[in-house]
């Protein structure tokens, strides 16, 4: 172990800057939330930068039908924030299904629900 620990430290020192899997950090509308009125945009902020060309956000209504939305795009100054433009959403429960590729090509996926009250 006396040999092994310095070896690990040396590897860390010479490593490239660490990127990683992109986890959902926060979302708007929030995960599992009940909101009064749907916003014009759905945005997910990840823990790492993501590649919009290789990332998707899909919205489905309570019946499972795909809701037409805009294409996913990232903010010019923050590639961790992936967003889609939303149409006017009628009241109901919605499921967000996302697949993203982080800037170092790691893939992650997830889904969550939110409810529009009015």
């Amino acid at each position: 172990m006396r040999r092994a620990v310095p070896f690990a430290l040396a590897m860390l020192i010479t490593a490239s800057p660490a990127f990683a899997h992109a986890f959902l950090e926060r979302a708007s509308p929030p995960v599992g939330s009940d909101i009064a009125v749907a916003p014009p945009e759905l945005a997910i902020t990840f823990t790492e930068g993501v590649e919009p060309l290789f990332s998707t956000i899909e919205l489905r209504d309570a019946g499972g039908a795909v809701v037409a939305t805009g294409k996913p795009h990232v903010a010019p100054d923050d590639n961790r924030r992936l967003a889609i433009d939303l149409p006017k959403l009628p009241p109901g429960s919605y499921t967000v299904i996302w697949h993203v590729t982080s800037v170092d090509t790691h893939k992650t996926e997830g889904s969550y629900r939110f409810t529009v009250a009015h």
Binding site: L24, E25, T108, S111
Partner: protein, 321 residues
Amino acid sequence: MHRPILFAAFAGAGLLPIQAAFAHGFAGPHMFISTLLIDDPNVADEASLPTFSFLPQPTDGGPAPGLYALEYEFDKRITENFGGSVAAGYQWLRTPGAKTANGWENVEATLKYKFYVNPEHEFMASVGVSREFARTGANGTNGAVLGFDDSSSTTPKIYWGKGFGDLPIGFLRPFAITGTLGYTIADKKLKVIGSDPDTGDPLFNNGNANQWSGGLSLQYSMRYLQSQVKDVGLPEFVNRLTPVVEVAWSSPASRPNQDSTQYLIGAGVNYTAQAYAVTVEALIPGNRQTGSHMGVIAQFHLYFDDIFPNSLGKPIVDWWN
């Protein structure tokens, strides 16, 4: 992957292996953490460096000897779903009133193949085989006191993990279970070669009995709760935590044997950052054969696929692509 942590049985009965394990992996949105007492089902590029453990050993009277271990493991993918690992470590057995026994553990190598992943139902399964190379660690007096095997052995294993994401009750969905089961086949069978003229107790050769071993872990991912079920507004630090309970078990599978069935429980918490994880667990003996005092185990875990995404962190077959 796994590392044999050694826990003594009653005095005079030798030291028995229970497995420790490390790694992480995704099945759909569920990430199985790096567990410490059992191996998880994933194949990955990572290292556990180091894993420290302390566990008072069982006695039949008097103060309990303390077993300290400092171990490492290196895991490398050869293809996307097939990889290998090498693990070893150093141990100290401090017995009150006696000289401390210390030495390197035998080296163990494992090959593992992840043959099934079902993202929708958050399920993953793998098979593997481990080989412990006898006499690569301490032998002689120290090796005998520490209970290191004097002959090699081979262990076929199966691993699996299941997330609870398809349950209808939201706050149960962050739970996941992982498990492993192995059967250790000794190269040299344990045999009775005589009896002690003073006590009449049987004397054995330096072989080993075959052995069953395995375990389960129950995990609750705060990240999964926050990103898949409901964001309750917890700090990001809390979202990176996974409370975990593990139980490891081993039992002799052939006669004669010098071993007894042992259970060891670990209860603690894992913190997973972007490129590393830290886990600390209390070690709780599950029966008298495993001990009667609590210990502790802690691990620093490195994810090479995040630290070295273009070299050490990708499968060997992709190095020239």
